[in-house]
Point group: D2
Chain length 300, copies 4
């Protein structure tokens, strides 16, 4: 029998907000805000939050609006169709609608580092994050027992120089089978191929230490130590084909002093990595992040 007190929180979707979130973007033009709010207003949509942003350089327009579905005049399954017809087409919007009762399904990729992996499981298990984690994929067997005690299927998919394409195909099949919405790379120490990445645009979240690009190579902590840095940080970003260079979601740092040995720097690095990755996932699952070109808008 499995222990599952967290399901109380997680699976009771009646306790989730019954709202819709519209995210849209287009070259700045007059009338978009009025058209969108008018669309919601005429159909008795009660707006809870509305955020808007115009990129000061590219003049691209971004908007996020959340409204209550209770009392909204258009049935949930027809909102997309109506919005496309009545608003989006007219302004040539890029857009999507998310429903808060639809719990995001995350695949967790991990190698041998525990810190991000454990932290994510905690936030899920304690009900802090309203997500499903239907499977864990790893190139090592190390964390299988951890997955088992949480009753999460654990797929051991070892990668070597010759089998990556084939193994990624297997991973892709698993992700399809489990109907995954997005992937969290919890210190997954394999470089994904372009082919794989292309299938999950802005849906793979990675964390890397801030030593990049200052301290590339095999032992960045030693390089940073020898350089005598006074801060160290981490960057959570969407994965793109260019390694560690995708749209940044969250960055943060911790202070370092001469007292910190390489070992202590690694410990501190882990703390900031898990904090930054968690914040990035939080923004993502709350549909706050809008990627554009190689950057993100993260609405507050």
């Amino acid at each position: 029998m499995s222990f599952s007190y967290h399901y109380i929180d997680i699976l009771n979707t009646n306790k989730l907000k019954d709202t819709a979130i519209l995210l849209l973007s287009c070259p700045d033009q007059r009338g978009v805000v009025a058209a969108v709010t008018d669309f919601l207003l005429k159909n008795d949509g009660n707006i809870l939050t509305l955020d808007e942003h115009i990129d000061s350089e590219t003049k691209q327009f971004f908007m996020r609006v959340e409204w209550e579905l209770k009392g909204f005049g258009i049935p949930q399954d027809k909102i997309t169709d109506y919005f496309e017809t009545l608003v989006a087409k007219r302004f040539e919007l890029g857009w999507k609608i998310e429903f808060c009762k639809c719990i995001p399904r995350a695949a967790l990729f991990v190698s041998k580092h525990a810190h991000c992996f454990f932290d994510i499981l905690n936030r899920w298990e304690s009900g802090e994050w309203k997500i499903e984690i239907p499977l864990i994929i790893s190139n090592h067997e190390k964390f299988k027992p951890i997955a088992e005690r949480h009753n999460i299927p654990y797929y051991y998919v070892p990668i070597n120089k010759t089998n990556k394409k084939q193994q990624e195909a297997e991973e892709k099949a698993l992700l399809d089978k489990y109907n995954i919405d997005f992937i969290i790379l919890a210190r997954y120490m394999q470089i994904l191929t372009s082919d794989f990445i292309k299938q999950f645009p802005n849906r793979i979240i990675n964390i890397h230490h801030s030593s990049l690009p200052a301290f590339p190579g095999a032992n960045p902590y030693r390089s940073a130590y020898e350089r005598g840095v006074k801060i160290m940080g981490a960057t959570a970003h969407y994965v793109t084909e260019e390694l560690d260079a995708g749209p940044i979601i969250v960055q943060d740092i911790i202070p370092i002093s001469h007292n910190d040995s390489i070992r202590e720097m690694k410990r501190k690095g882990k703390d900031v990595e898990k904090r930054v990755l968690a914040q990035a996932v939080w923004e993502h699952i709350n549909h706050k992040v809008m990627p554009y070109k190689n950057k993100t808008i993260v609405f507050s």
Copy 2:
């Protein structure tokens, strides 16, 4: 003849953005956003930024929208009238409009601490802040020479136990004469009377150290030292009748360790005070702050 390289930046209002900023608030109701954006759209107003907020507890609605005056169909001097008639009256809005070309005029109140005072003069003199400082008021003569070298009139208004009411009347007359928009208390060590404060609602910005309310009394740094605090901070707020308890605009902290003597704590305290006060003034002069009840919305 006085040196005045900063006037290049400050007084050339042609270099300022030619925009209007509308700040409004009302109990949440349908249609406000649509009505406002419609008002701007129909008159060819090009919206640069639009922010909106709904207080999750009181359901009060807040909005800030900035648009270009160039090409806007309503003459600048009639915008207020038209907006009142066409929009504000219908929704019973609290609102105001600011024009970026109208440079805010700040009175600087100071006693004997130099850190905030100097920092503010710098930001003004270097053109970082687009404000006027038409006068300085102090209960000490100490900084008169500083004012003189900047060609700012310096009024020495000493306060004692019996003359406060009368001296504040004189200050009020000065502020009127110089057509002051808001007051910066740059570590002004006098308590203002309710009568004075009432005449500048949400227009007096004060800074106090974070030791409140933990360490009140004559020597808060000693109390904080003896308590062994590990952080110290500062709070910038609008002045209300309740001492140091008005709407908070900015707060921040700095780390403290056992190595910090009371003297070093004071030095660090000054640094965070000047940083926090400057940030608060920046938000204020950019019309980002909306007070409501005893808190603020600070749009980003």
Copy 3:
């Protein structure tokens, strides 16, 4: 069979540094540093780190020195005796010696909040912290399954208005039985009695939110929300008889904005609480903390 990959790290004390740490304090007087270093030098002790501090107000002297036991001329079990006779007595030192191979044994007290509890278990399980957690004590049954899956005895000790003295006596017996070195209150929502606290001077670590003393009472987050605070924090401290007023070990904050609902403030509060408590435990188990009067020296 239980999963226990962490034992690899934790119980192999051969992998721990074979060092001793001497912590001492006395009114400042000449000759202490020389006497201590001389004591170590004459016995071939290789000093790894030496930190010293003099409180600038009370002139109390503090020192922490760590040296290698390998090659040290005095057998480990006689160091205490020799140091007392040859150095400590002469200077009337308050002092203690810790050996890094002696793994601290922590009792975990928890109620119903998961965030600190899970985080601590992770740091222990992943081997980040070299500690033992021989038992968990709670006034609720909620986390029993979590304890079971880690094979940690879980004692459910409910507290009500009449049984606290008796239940604390039982807890004390458990702590003695398991040979506990210190207690971590991972959001344990019971006030300990003076009698209990006195038995663990500077050996009970608690975490409380930063709203104290500004926002006491039943719903501090609501008070902080209504006050419109722009930062929120947490304080980890040793428990003393005066509630939440013991020597502070670590404090930190996170930024808050008007966008944060009370619910979001609670979420952010949890994050800073678990971070601050973890850092405090880390300093404690590395024997970096020296309490004095009502404050701490935390050597870096």
Copy 4:
């Protein structure tokens, strides 16, 4: 007549602590701490602070000790000689002694950015920093009036492609004439030659924005903007022959969001630059910084 209220603080050296600070370094070896403290003890030196550090990788030993000169048995002008003979020679120490009553003399180099320049003048003028600023050197005439109002000689030394060697020679002559201890590059936008730098080893403090090495080139703020960074920072360091790669003294960051235009990023960048440079100068003038190889120990 010139206004000079700050001289009250600055030139009254009787108000400065009458202490000596010994900074020393050597490969780690037994007996150094004991020998030094013994040297001070035997001559009735009252130690105020003692800090020690061993680099965990190179095993280099560092020590900073401050003691009162009042009552010290060796006359101030003979301390160097005695210490060399009795201690330093035996351990082959690298070392120096500083006396707190000797006010450091800083040359200020500036180009056209006001933020660091003004901030430094303020800290000097208000007496926060106990330093002399005997001259200002600039490759532009812009700030001459500012220097004049502070009665600081201002040398306009324009640099072009062909005259750098010759102009640096003139600068060197000025620095010698004014008996300068160290140089602050307050956003001085010229690259110093190796020849010049070699004459001031670890005595030139520079500030650069954190975009290095990530965003080199002519417009780093635009690059950072387009990359969508979420933090921006600054690094203060000693100048070495390798551009912007000398020993780091202080680093810090500020948060950035998508709301920050390039212009706003620059404004925030200035704030963090002036804060970081000021902290670095503070550590330097308090003799807290020990460079070693390409890093620094900054004692707390």
